[in-house]
Amino acid sequence: MSKLLEVKDLAIYFDTYQAEVQAVRGVSFELDEKETLAIVGESGSGKSVTAQSLMRLTPMPPGKFAGGSILFNGEDLTKKSESQMESIRGKDISMIFQDPMTSLNPTMTIGKQIAEGLIKHQNMSKKEAHNRGVELLKLVGIPNPEKRINQYPHEYSGGMRQRAMIAIALACNPKVLIADEPTTALDVTIQAQILDLMRDLQQKTGTAIILITHDLGVVANAASRVAVMYGGKIVETGNVDEIFYNPKHPYTWGLLSSMPKINNGEEELQAIPGSPPDLADPPKGCPFVARCPYAMKLCENHMPEYTNLSDTQKTACWLLDERAPEVEPPESAIVGGAKVHG
């Protein structure tokens, strides 16, 4: 069966005046219909650039495709013209952004911002688009939508703005929704509401979701598969259970250790020492080598191949080689008996 979205060896570089920054260095992943894939990593890992480039929203220049392809329904998006992309954006693939405070146009009513996509992609009249806008606002749980639709973003609270963003993104029933840190800027209680809403809507509409986040807590709540990114590469990928209960990459261990857990209240959170590699001068070998407590001599100069641990789990780490010493994940990386997948 052909996949909905297939990213192969995607590489995106940025020309800055100091150097060429290799933000994404050969990333491959797939997305099935109606599933939720989480891309996890810390800031600077290339996850947001990857996400935005799927819609060709990365400014080019200074950015550029340095290789690879993005196949959507079998067609390569990296080869599309700008006007072809316009008919895909918002209709087939849409996106919600991190900060709802800045991602809505402050001088345009919410209703008009929802209507724009509908008028463009579904040839609706203004009136029809308005009515559909009211429905959408109701769908994303905004009370009193007939009145709210004529308001400006500053009259909405943060959580409501993100709901409105979701309404805009889902207006034309896209096949893929890219959510770039959709809950990071929100209060914790609102975060859960927004995640619930997204999951709810996914069940209703069948949209596949790519969820970009640095928060494993969000992943556990929302995703079915996970790709862990580090230094412009995917270092480990698997379904949620595999990533949480059987992680093999030391970076995933580090991420799990730094996640607060309910059942180990007394333990300290483990931070990963060091900072991500400089992608203007990327490491030759494994990007994590400088911060990896288990680093071996060959890690410095040789990027490990992926080892297939199951049908779904792949890990790029030399520790999985039979000649490497046996290492156990640290205590703090073991997710206790608590059920993770909601």
Partner: protein, 311 residues
Amino acid sequence: MAKYLLKRLVYIIVSLFFIITITFFLMQAAPGSPFASERALTPALEAQMNEAYGLNEPIHVQYFNYLFSAFQFDFGPSIKYVGQDVTEIIARSFPYSLILGVEAILIALSIGVLLGVIAAVKHNKFGDYTAMVIAVLGISVPSFIMATILQYIFAIKLQALPIARFESFAHTILPAVALATTPLAFIARLMRSSMLDVLHSDYIKTAKSKGLSERVVTYKHALRNAILPVVSYLGPLVVSILTGSFIIEKIFGIPGLGNEFVVSVTNRDYTVIMGTTVFFSVLLLVSILLVDLLYGLVDPRIKVTDKGASK
């Protein structure tokens, strides 16, 4: 809304009171008698003149008289032009300045915004550099030099446009362009940096992610937001046009209020100086109020009105 307007009007009146007071005492402090330069004035005649202009009264009486009549828009007679009231002079000359000023403001706004948008959209490309070179030159060439350059090229060399006076639309072109140059350059730079900021903002990404075309994103989403700083610049723009008119009207021989003011300064015609200063202040305070009201219309986040009046 009514409450807000009332508050602003009170503020304007208080400001005017200060301005009248300060100009009155400044002019009192000016050296010499207002009639000092009139050579053939006998002491008896001077006393008579002082009597006629109320200059023999104690200073505080003079002040209150002036304050009282100023609020009725009566600034007394001109000292130099016998038989002319300051109010008459203003009423006669202001229409010229108004036409010239409005024309200059329109030129500065339309071309300035256009240049700024071109520069931002073509950021770091040829269009950007051209627009910014024009802007830097516009800021560096003072209006009076611009005026003489324009006169020299279009009126003396090409004889394409009239050099001076104010009789038809053609007469207004050169002075209006000269007057608009500096603010135009400011607006272009302001518009460029504001547009660049907006083009990099998140909501522009949102608009693009909806599949809107570059053109719609630029003109429907970006422009409306980027123009807000230009709207707040309208106040300083009026000031700049007003003070610029002093010199431009002089160079082009336009009988406007700016020219009248300059003549009154050279003649030390104190009542005219005071009267025009107060008039200029009223003009500025009112235009700043109008700009604030306009800003409330353009930016939905600013509520000038209370809930009841919003649509």
